[in-house]
Symmetry: C2
Subunit: 342 residues, 2 copies
């Protein structure tokens, strides 16, 4: 645990709404948090236009960057052609240790490619993965990969299981968190070749593996800490449940807003509905760690608002404060090396 | 439209709970419906043990079959080794036109392989797909494939789009229903090779294609009638939203059951909560058509209860009554042949 101030670089241009979301998020974060300083990376003029009275509060600085990575830009082009993009410079600040972590709501592919190029991977890990905790019936379930890797081999899925396991162990203080592999059934014969290969590799490892799990198990099984899947499936499953959650919120709002009686019912039900809405509000779950890298990078939803982006900053802070990176690096290295020497 | 009685064969041994669910479902269905007769296919003794007083009501018959397909049995083994299974015999009854449709909650892989072998495919269609309607913010959205095909090429996804389009056109009476392709972003560069290939094929077809859609669009976009994906992703997305829906139902029940005040709030809120729970109750959406076959086969969830299975019977009935098969066959054939001759 460090008592020093924590420095977090923010890609102020990233995401669907760029500085209009990132700057207000930084301002509201810094107002309530006294352990961090934030660096807004990006076009200085644009950033300043979102500062009330053009004034920078304490512990908030601007680091100018002249370029922006577009949301639909090819990762390879962003990496090669935009060395002064807000995204790249924010990651560079982590590399040079001027920042302890960075947060971006930008183009996922570009973020992954750039972070991998600049920060490098942990030993024996091929690719970064995006991990986040989702609300579950009792507590929460961590899911990875949520969209960094579209095509994954069994070996990649195995590495995700290793990284996820060590991250959750470090963050949640669970000794040997349980790992499930997402599949379309629990029977051995089910699944594609990648899933079957990963099943064999994880079964053969020291991880606390519970076998195949299904989509509903993410939310309803209390004995699973981590669910592993490829980024294509993980991202679609995540967005699908977000869609359903939005649909339910909308239906409840409409239902309770109908007439005077339902409005009275809503008043009495308020604490229950609020608790539920807090639990399924995806903004509260916004901010996913890009793990496997030698540096802390947090990915925010591209379309999030200031509340969601501020939550992603809080996640970056927590990772720094609890030295998640150091813990994960040591353990992943040990596990992967033990495997090679076997 | 037929005025004759509709005959539906039920695989009474299929699913996690077999006859203990299928027989009560058949009894409750036949009690309220006077247009159908049902054939319970399977072990006669077992089936009879679930009949009150061992009495068969009118319009319910038993067709004995000596074997059962296990939930974890390899499809190829079931197909080759169990020619007198309840599943196989139910499908045979459709082939011989002794039944207009069949319903099974059994092993998905075996059902697909057997149905394909016995009933054969529509011209130019390679594989059956599982399609079902999910609740959406306004109306509903049809999704396929929900688990029949684990690995799909771009051509397969294209064929799903064609079949889905014609099915929804026939069932919902929409002239040119809109089709979206499930992906992890709406940008052209996103997605795996199969998705990109399907995107090109569907764009080039006469289908009413809206392009890539994301998971939340299933529930929140009002302009999409059909969402196409492979069976691995579709099944996991479906199960994931079911899990979240269960979690929310549980949370609401717990919240409203807490004390006397919340119980009063629950009473007043009852109509709203009931409406919501009806909307997200997956039993009401139970029963998915296996399309692409020259015969009507409806797949029920393996773990469903009698309410859910009865709903699957109702779906089979609707498909027969509206001659969905005839309509889809004509249109799919026309579209696929138009494509070849181009």
């Amino acid at each position: 645990l460090t008592t020093d101030i924590i420095t977090i670089a923010l890609d102020a241009m990233g995401g669907d709404n760029g500085a209009s979301v990132v700057v207000p998020a930084a301002l509201s974060f810094i107002e309530k948090d006294f352990e961090c300083q934030l660096i807004l990376v990006g076009n200085e003029e644009k950033i300043r236009s979102y500062l009330p009275d053009n004034k920078l509060p304490d512990r908030l600085t601007i680091h100018h960057a002249s370029q922006e990575v577009m949301m639909d830009e090819l990762p390879s082009r962003a990496l090669r052609g935009k060395k002064d993009s807000s995204m790249r410079v924010a990651i560079d600040l982590v590399k040079s240790q001027e920042a302890d972590a960075c947060v971006s709501a930008g183009n996922t592919g570009a973020l992954m490619a750039t972070a991998r190029f600049v920060l490098k991977m942990l030993p024996s890990i091929d690719r970064p993965a995006i991990i986040s905790a989702l609300p579950a019936n009792r507590g929460r379930t961590w899911v990875l990969d949520l969209g960094a890797n579209i095509d994954c081999s069994g070996e990649h899925l195995f590495q995700f299981a290793v990284m996820g396991s060590e991250l959750v162990s470090a963050v949640d203080g669970i000794d040997r968190p349980t790992v499930g592999l997402l599949n379309i059934g629990q029977e051995e014969m089910k699944g594609n070749e990648q899933v079957k290969a990963a099943h064999a590799l994880i079964s053969d490892s020291p991880l606390n593996y519970v076998g195949y799990v299904e989509g509903d198990d993410i939310f309803m099984r209390d004995d699973i800490d981590i669910v592993v899947t490829d980024g294509f499936v993980g991202n679609i499953a995540l967005k699908s449940v977000e869609g359903l959650a939005k649909m339910i919120s909308t239906a409840l709002k409409e239902g309770f807003g109908k007439n005077i009686f339902t409005k009275i019912a809503a008043l009495i039900s308020m604490p229950i509905l609020k608790a539920l809405s807090r639990r399924i509000d995806h903004r509260r779950y916004n901010g996913a760690a890009l793990i496997g890298l030698k540096g802390i990078v947090v990915k925010s939803h591209g379309g999030t608002d200031a509340v969601g982006f501020a939550n992603a900053i809080a996640i970056a802070k927590k990772e720094v404060k609890e030295d998640v990176l150091g813990k994960v690096e040591d353990k992943v290295t040990a596990l992967m090396q033990g495997r090679i020497s076997k």
